[in-house]
Amino acid sequence: MSFGQFIALASFVLSMGTIAVTYAVGTAQGTAELCNPFIDGCTDITHTGMKGDAGFIFRGGMIAACAFFIVWWQVMRTWLSGHSNRLALTVMQFFGVLAALGLLAGTAVLLPEKSATHWGVHVRGANLFFQGMLIALTVNYVLVFRARRAGLAVPSFAVKSALILVLWLMTVAFAGVTVGIDMSHGKRIIEWWATLFIGIYFLTSYWDWKRIRLVHY
């Protein structure tokens, strides 16, 4: 496994795995409601990871995942450099890293007690993640599209296209993901799906980055 593939896989497994394990532990311990959140929207992601052991797993896993996201954007920059101009890459990386830092800060301030949590930081951080990530992924998609036309092999292009299309459809149709303290069922459903799609987008690079390696010259 190349370095690039390691980062792509770790970004996906850690983020999605953390959410899955948190939800499983939360429902088992009675701190989260049991349902299919992708369909029912009975809970949002944040509330699954506040109380009890689920809270520890969520905070540890998501902060670690955010650190991997930051490296993911650095690897993406390396992969596209030579096919994209420096300014576009910088804009892409800036919004990607900003989004990851937003989620990192938003997760770090979560506490077991709802009343004690700094909701201002959490809500701003989570919204920065979803909105910053949408901008970064869109810029990324345009750069990947151009690079592919210029001859760069992009095995995951079809999946990336579908994911970007769905993310934008969600944004246009449902005004995207807007995280709040108490979210409606519809917003919660959108949040779960958007998070999954962003996670899969990170994973798709696993097939693109076979040759992104650390090499000594």
Partner: protein
Amino acid sequence: MTLPQRIALVALVLPIISIASSYFMSANAGHVDWCLPYIDGCTTITATGIFYPAAYVFRAGLISSAVVFIIWWYCVRAWLESVGHPQHHPWIHRIVTFAIIASMLLVASIAVLGEHMEPPSEHRFLWRFHTTTAGLFFLITALCQIMMTWRMRQLQDDLGIKFSRIASKQILAALQLLLLAAFMLILIFDLKSDGVEEIFEWWLATFSCLYFYTTYHDWRDFRLTRREQQPLQEASL
């Protein structure tokens, strides 16, 4: 600066800034004493990350640092397999595996910290969990760094690494070994006194972080690349 060089730099700077910031915030709020913990041992590293808002900085900074350590160990493995006569080194795989597990223990250790652990007498399990995982992180990381230095010294010719590049690693590994040995002796002969454990903890953490930084100069020509490119046209970081 190449990507591995950035990793080596961040592995030193991020944990130190995180701990220093949370110590400053905690001491400012009166939760821990003002002192020079390397000499006085007035507080543990953990104690600086219990009370909010210092705990937020501590949590975010040290969990992110653990990820940087994991990537650093990945870089070490890739580097040692590509210098000199590139070959498979099973020993480095074993060391890196243990060290990565140790960094995961650090994540677990930090994730449970917070004001909810107060008072300690009512949350013995969480404290025991934190102490065990943090202790294992320090111990395993130090041992892995010592083992790595020892093997690098043994295979110096095969790896084609200059002595000057191992010298700083040897000094830090020797200091860590001395600290661990002295701490074991203190425990065995029951010579513990107030602040000794804390002093050991601060120094061991600092030596570990400094060790991560020693590869900064080693990794000047070690970079992340797309292999299909020609070396001169490399898009490298």
